[in-house]
């Protein structure tokens, strides 16, 4: 089961973890702050290079 859960997360990364990018951006803007540049890049690409 731990392996299956890991594989499920890994194989569906963009669908599962993608929304957290928007949530992180929202946390900055809700606090009245700019989204830091390095986060903005990751937020835009949403791509992971292994």
């Amino acid at each position: 089961m731990p392996l299956q859960s890991r594989e499920w997360c890994s194989e569906n990364r963009s669908g599962i973890f993608g929304p957290s990018m928007n949530a992180l951006r929202k946390a900055f803007t809700d606090a009245g702050q700019e989204v830091p540049d390095h986060m903005r890049m990751r937020l835009h690409t949403g791509k992971v290079e292994l």
Binding site: M1, P2, L3, S5, R6, W8, C9, S10, R13, S14, I16, F17, P19, S20, M21, N22, A23, L24, K26, A27, F28, D30, A31, Q33, H38, M39, R42, L43, V48, L50
Partner: protein, 343 residues
């Protein structure tokens, strides 16, 4: 006295490689807590996660209940309870019970939920998690105050004339802290409710530079809400491994760190923002990862405290299995013997 005021402990997610026997891994976590208790560490915070196979403790409360019976001094907290996953009334009730059963050694750590995959399975939207955490903590604080019955309605929970049937063992209440990692949300919530802060960002690249700024932000938010946030309740979370010499310490953790970073943070989670590709190399340069001899570690802690511009209450080490079991246990012993007394 083991040391001079600064408290030390661990932040136990925990991290165990997928494929390892989970029963034995949970046993090692318990063994570690007992070892830290023996060595004079002050506190340990235990995580809550439900997916991805690495961070295998689902209920910090269950773990804490068992650990309290096997330890004498160490204080244990949830690191952290993902508030959007639970009705706030039940969170308050459970921690009041733990506070009594441990005779005041329980602490409540709060967060929005670190693994989005956990929230996904429960149908909770990532963009709602921080708001839900804030709403839940607001309810918990009112319940723990044990004043008027609490009536409150949100789009995900309701309280109707709710009151706890026991007051906390600790007067006026046990320690509560909010986790803060990559965004300002955690520190603002801590300030709003006047509770402690777990700065996980201290162990992330660039995190140290923001420590003082974040703390001031929390102080301003607290003031806005007529609250204060004491520096004693501020905990800094960093990576640490100690051996007799720098080179030996680095050699002991190098392979395990790569395995954790690549297998878990990159291949499984897609490397969350702010998480370095090379936490060991980058962290050592930035002083956010402390690996080395006792002297090297002590200098690292001094630098970390300088970043806070006024000090903090505790330094917590993010528990990992970068090194093997024996070297990991020895690392904590070396730290307790040769570094702890300096602080």
């Amino acid at each position: 006295m083991a040391h001079r005021g600064l408290r030390f402990g661990i932040f136990l997610a925990p991290f165990h490689r997928v494929g390892d026997n989970p029963t034995l891994a949970l046993g090692r976590d318990m063994e570690l807590i007992q070892w830290l208790d023996h060595l004079g560490y002050d506190e340990a915070w235990i995580g809550e996660h439900h997916s991805a196979g690495w961070e295998i403790i689902a209920s910090p409360e269950i773990f804490m209940g068992a650990a309290f019976e096997r330890t004498r001094h160490i204080r244990l907290g949830s690191g952290v309870t993902s508030l959007p996953y639970h009705h706030p009334f039940l969170v308050a009730q459970r921690f009041v019970q733990l506070d009594h059963m441990s005779r005041g050694r329980a602490m409540l750590g709060c967060g929005p939920g670190a693994l989005v995959s956990d929230a996904y399975m429960m149908g909770i939207k990532a963009e709602d998690q921080r708001r839900m955490m804030d709403e839940s903590l607001g309810a918990i604080m009112q319940l723990l105050a044990c004043e008027e019955p609490v009536t409150m309605k949100t789009d995900w929970f309701e309280l109707k004339e709710a009151r706890l049937h026991l007051a906390p063992y600790t007067y006026p209440r046990f320690d509560i802290a909010v986790a803060s990692a990559t965004t300002p949300s955690g520190v603002l919530t801590a300030g709003k409710h006047g509770v402690g802060l777990l700065s996980l960002g201290a162990g992330l690249p660039g995190g140290n530079a923001k420590l003082a700024e974040h703390w001031r932000m929390g102080e301003r938010e607290a003031e806005k809400h007529g609250k204060t946030i004491p520096r004693d309740g501020w905990r800094l979370v960093v990576n640490m491994h100690c051996a007799e010499e720098d080179e030996r310490a680095f050699r002991e953790v190098k392979h395990g760190e790569r395995r954790e970073t690549l297998s878990y943070f990159s291949e499984t989670l897609g490397r969350p923002p702010m998480r370095s590709e090379d936490p060991l190399g980058d962290g050592l340069k930035a002083g956010t990862t402390l690996v080395g001899s006792p002297d090297t570690i002590a200098r690292g802690i001094e630098r970390l405290l300088e970043y806070t511009e006024g000090g903090a209450g505790a330094v917590l080490f993010r528990a990992h299995e970068w090194a093997n079991r024996e070297d990991t246990l020895r690392s904590y012993e070396l730290f307790a013997r040769w570094v702890m007394p300096r602080f």
